[in-house]
């Protein structure tokens, strides 16, 4: 094992260059955002663009501050977050269970295959009217929509992962006389942890699509509701603020999942 003092000058130079390149990426990323916001603000201030249609960074900030102080913001963010996370958890868990059932029994899998393909291809928004009639006009409808959007794709990708588990490892389990349950818990499930975390990442986006689309259809609160309300009343400041907030929320949720993935997988896969 070498320690830092034993590194050759060339090696140090190599490491320094690598670090420089990494810093350059970070600076450019941040710079891109600053320049974008700066140009937007500049064009708005000089009157080159019509703030009535485009809003501006300062007005977005102002809107967010005002709404935070009067408590409106928290209420709407909370509503959307609740629907999204609830739909995310239910959709993922249900999708996982369906995938297990389909993996378990070849007959069941073959029977359901064409149905899954059709349901997967169906635009879930088409079910909106039905969902409202069946689940009511409250939060439940929105959660159902969110679940529908994530559950099918979760089930299909996990089932494919389960079925593609290394045949020779399955053979190893069989040679040890493992039961089906043991084969699942000791091999198939852990071997597909990367499949699961990949699905969890995809589902972050899916769930936000579900909840915002649900709120477009039927809602009295939430960021999707605010977006529709804002556009109908031509309050572009509000629309832009909601969009920025959605970016932030989805980004944070994705980051949490990515960190969880890193912890779960470490260097084992």
């Amino acid at each position: 094992m070498k320690n830092n003092t034993a590194l050759s000058p060339q090696h140090l130079k190599y490491l320094k260059n690598k670090k420089k390149a990494a810093i350059a990426v970070h600076v450019a990323r941040l710079g891109l955002l600053v320049v974008f916001l700066g140009v937007w603000e500049l064009l708005a201030v000089t009157g080159a663009i019509d703030v009535f249609l485009t809003s501006s960074p300062s007005r977005v900030l102002e809107t967010i501050v005002t709404m935070t102080t009067d408590g409106q913001l928290l209420k709407h963010v909370w509503a959307s977050l609740y629907e999204t996370v609830a739909g995310y958890v239910i959709g993922t868990v249900a999708g996982y269970l369906i995938a297990v059932a389909l993996w378990w029994n070849v007959h069941v899998r073959k029977v359901f295959e064409p149905y899954l393909v059709v349901i997967n291809s169906l635009p879930k928004i088409a079910l909106g009217p039905l969902i409202i009639l069946w689940a009511g006009t409250g939060k439940n409808s929105i959660i159902v929509m969110t679940v529908l959007i994530s559950v099918v794709i979760t089930a299909i990708s996990l089932m494919n992962g389960f079925c593609e588990t290394d045949k020779n490892k399955i053979l190893l389990m069989q040679s040890m006389h493992a039961t089906k349950l043991q084969t699942f818990t000791k091999l198939v499930a852990p071997a597909n942890l990367p499949t699961l975390t990949a699905t969890l990442k995809i589902n972050v986006g899916m769930s936000w699509v579900g909840s915002i689309m649900g709120e477009y259809l039927v809602s009295r609160e939430g960021l999707g509701y605010l977006l529709v309300y804002g556009s109908q009343t031509f309050r572009l400041d509000l629309v832009m603020s909601c969009t920025v907030l959605l970016c932030a929320l989805a980004g944070v949720m994705y980051a949490i999942v990515a960190v969880a993935e890193k912890l779960l997988l470490k260097n084992k896969y």
Partner: protein, 251 residues
């Protein structure tokens, strides 16, 4: 010595949509307790079928396979690749078989631990497989198979995935461990020199449908190492004999 595995007129047929394939036809042989046997055959001769039959993953179409042991877990199977589970530590990989069997007794785990210490895996217990060299991984796979205390060890070309240098070393390693633990071993291979360097007795199979062409006794069991066996003076003569068998010559 007592027989531990007996094949009696075993026949195995496989079906597909378009054809019926006879993989094995009237195969009979017996392996004695403590023997190191090799099953040598041309590629595609149904070696894997023989392995699946011995490990009771499939039942013969007709004929009988007898394993003379009270041990319900009499056969341990070592596959071509190590197939260690990346998410388990070396220790957890080795005790996988015990977990599956529901053998939770202290004694079993102690035995697995003893094996690990004895064969130099003790310091790697908490490591993950990707931190180990190919040779060490293969050794871990062998210890995993031994941990459930099988009477018969099945080796499915366990060195074929390794580069030549590692292959010779791992071969040496596996041989000495199997001898020290006093196990009956059955190696399935198409590599003539590997068969001579490891086995006491070699069963040569014909091409499909496989049946026994010849039984060859190497008489090298007193030479304690596969590498040394390769240096013995009748090694090349034996190679020639087996080569002829494989290519259709008769006894």
């Amino acid at each position: 010595m007592q027989d531990i595995l007996i094949f009696e007129n075993v026949r195995q047929v496989f079906y597909t949509d378009t054809q019926e394939t006879v993989a094995i036809e009237d195969l009979s042989f017996a392996v004695k307790k403590g023997q190191f046997a090799a099953i040598l055959g041309p590629s595609g001769c149904g070696k894997t079928t023989v392995l699946s039959l011995i490990s009771r993953l499939i039942k013969p179409t007709s004929g009988q396979i007898k394993i003379l042991s009270d041990n319900p877990n009499a056969v341990g199977y070592m596959l071509q690749h190590d197939h260690l589970f990346g998410w388990r530590t070396i220790e957890k990989n080795i005790t996988l078989g015990l977990e599956i069997l529901g053998k939770k007794s202290k004694e079993d785990y102690l035995y697995a631990n003893t094996l690990m210490e004895k064969y130099g895996l003790g310091e790697f217990k908490t490591h993950y497989p990707n931190q180990l060299s190919g040779g060490m991984r293969q050794r871990t796979a062998l210890i995993r198979t031994l941990a459930t205390r099988p009477d018969i060890l099945l080796l499915d070309e366990p060195f074929s995935a390794l580069d030549y240098q590692t292959r010779l070393n791992v071969c040496e390693d596996v041989y000495s461990i199997i001898r020290k633990e006093n196990k009956t071993a059955i190696l399935v291979t198409h590599d003539i020199s590997e068969a001579i360097s490891l086995a006491d007795v070699i069963f040569v199979l014909t091409a499909r449908p496989s049946t026994l062409r010849a039984t060859h006794v190497t008489g090298l069991q007193d030479i304690p190492s596969p590498l040394k066996r390769r240096e013995s003076k009748d090694f090349s003569a034996q190679f020639q004999i087996l080569y002829n068998y494989l290519n259709g010559g008769n006894k």
